[in-house]
């Protein structure tokens, strides 16, 4: 890519170098002890024109936004939007939040996602970070994994062409290895996360100039 070095996406407080515009990352590891936290920290934008669109499949929108704030995200409803498909009603009434009744409704999630992306963009926040936390319910609820492949091509396609950043979290232990490997094909790089006595480590595969060996992560804000 030809963009200037300082246009790339930065990750303050994480041992990662900036990544190119349009990059999609798969974050793998135990969801409740590291991967979910890492996904949310990658989505916190230090950019003045940065926005975030979150697809929440494992918790309701209120919980997701609280967690996002805990890990350093700024809750500005013009620039942070949530698609809640966790099947748990949060009762949150807000234009920045929409609900899809089930993670199986990939068409509904995709349309809501594009709608929120366009609203964020129209508000002037053109550096959009997209999070899917987590991919597991999408895979579990889909009878045919090919529907998830089509969904991932559509989402990562938009991220790539709109110079966004994509962060999708997956617990590899929740799926067969072949499925994890085929899902990984849709992403430019993979961030592995592990927890060791409460401390997080990460390593990166598939991207240049990133730590390829296990590297300690400082505690989140």
């Amino acid at each position: 890519m030809s963009q200037r070095q300082d246009d790339r996406y930065r990750f303050d407080g994480l041992p990662l170098n900036p990544v190119d515009l349009g990059t999609s990352l798969l974050v793998t590891g135990p969801v409740l002890s590291g991967a979910r936290e890492m996904g949310l920290r990658l989505l916190c934008s230090p950019d003045i024109d940065g926005g975030t669109v979150l697809v929440s499949t494992d918790s309701d929108a209120t919980t997701m936004l609280e967690d996002f704030e805990r890990y350093g995200g700024v809750l500005d409803r013009d620039r942070v939007r949530v698609i809640d498909c966790a099947q748990e009603s949060s009762g949150l009434q807000d234009d920045s939040v929409s609900t899809v009744s089930t993670p199986a409704d990939l068409t509904g999630i995709g349309i809501e996602y594009s709608g929120h992306y366009e609203s964020t963009y129209a508000n002037g926040y053109t550096r959009v970070r997209t999070g899917i936390i987590t991919l597991t319910p999408l895979l579990v609820y889909s009878d045919d994994v090919r529907a998830v492949y089509r969904f991932l091509n559509t989402i990562t396609g938009r991220i790539g062409t709109a110079d966004g950043l994509g962060v999708c979290v997956l617990d590899p232990d929740a799926h067969e290895e072949q499925v994890v490997e085929s899902v990984a094909q849709f992403f430019d790089g993979r961030v592995d996360v592990r927890a060791d006595a409460g401390d997080l480590d990460l390593r990166v595969k598939g991207l240049r100039d990133q730590p390829t060996e296990w590297t300690p992560v400082s505690a989140g804000t």
Partner: protein
């Protein structure tokens, strides 16, 4: 013929359609137009890179357009361009995943043109993983004019040898085109082509490791692929074929109607068969290139 990506614009109102088509053309796209679901069939073919559609038609809705597109060109990007909010749209099927640009955002047609131009050139809605270097890979596949290479008899002999050597139902050599796998030789069945999303080979070409599926019914990637059941493919082993630059052009494969394991010696033999096919293709292509 234009090199611009081609967009099909489906909107029922002629004036609105013309306005949308103008904006898409200004974005450098070659635009075709239809005003109803009924007339879609004649306009749809695999030269269409992207479809922009309204939701409400006199004879159906936007999801009917998606179905018609998937029937002809399953990988094509479809963009819903509508004033309906997402929550007002009926629920689509999982195969109907689409892009969406609301007409309610400011300068929505210009925004649509941006999304369509980028999507038509760079995005797929394929239901399978696409290699990172797909454009180079497809260019490499096009280098092999198999009819002129006169290699089919050789591959027929090799696949016949494979079925008896491995004691399997079917052995084949396939090239992976943009939308489907084309079988150059197929011993034990008369397969000609198979839609790429239905093939196991679309996964085989992603890795230089031999792909083995001992039982398709037990593998979540393939358990619900009806085409594999129809073709009686219950087990599979395949090795990808590459050109001298490393581009994956196809695969050499074994299938059987029963679950099956392969020993390491058998997998080594399968790789030797694939090496032979690869070498035949390369040598014959070089011969063809000589003046």
């Amino acid at each position: 013929m234009s090199d611009s990506p081609t967009v099909l614009c489906a909107q029922p109102d002629a004036d609105e359609r013309a306005e949308t088509a103008d904006v898409l053309a200004d974005a450098g796209l070659s635009v075709e137009e239809v005003g109803s679901i009924d007339t879609l069939d004649t306009a749809l073919d695999r030269s269409i890179d992207c479809v922009v559609t309204a939701f409400d038609f006199a004879d159906g809705d936007g999801f009917d357009v998606v179905d018609a597109v998937r029937e002809v060109n399953p990988d094509c990007v479809v963009i819903l361009f509508t004033e309906h909010a997402p929550s007002d749209l009926p629920r689509g099927g999982p195969e109907q995943v689409v892009e969406y640009v609301p007409r309610t955002v400011p300068e929505s047609r210009e925004r649509l043109a941006d999304v369509a131009a980028m999507a038509a050139a760079e995005v797929t809605q394929a239901a399978y993983p696409v290699p990172e270097t797909e454009a180079e890979r497809l260019a490499a596949v096009q280098q092999y004019d198999v009819d002129r290479l006169a290699a089919i008899d050789t591959f027929d002999r090799l696949t016949a040898l494979m079925t008896s050597h491995f004691d399997i139902d079917v052995a084949f050599v396939g090239l992976m085109d943009e939308h489907e796998e084309r079988f150059l030789a197929c011993e034990g069945a008369n397969w000609r082509t198979l839609s790429r999303e239905d093939t196991i080979c679309t996964h085989t070409i992603l890795s230089d490791e031999t792909m083995v599926v001992e039982d398709t019914h037990e593998d979540p990637r393939f358990a619900n692929v009806d085409a594999l059941k129809r073709l009686d493919i219950r087990s599979y082993a395949g090795v990808r074929l590459t050109d001298e630059a490393g581009n994956a052009i196809g695969a050499v494969c074994c299938t059987d109607g029963e679950p099956r394991r392969y020993t390491q010696a058998e997998l080594d033999d399968l790789r030797r068969f694939a090496d032979e096919v690869e070498e035949q293709l390369l040598l014959r292509r070089r011969l063809q290139e000589e003046p």
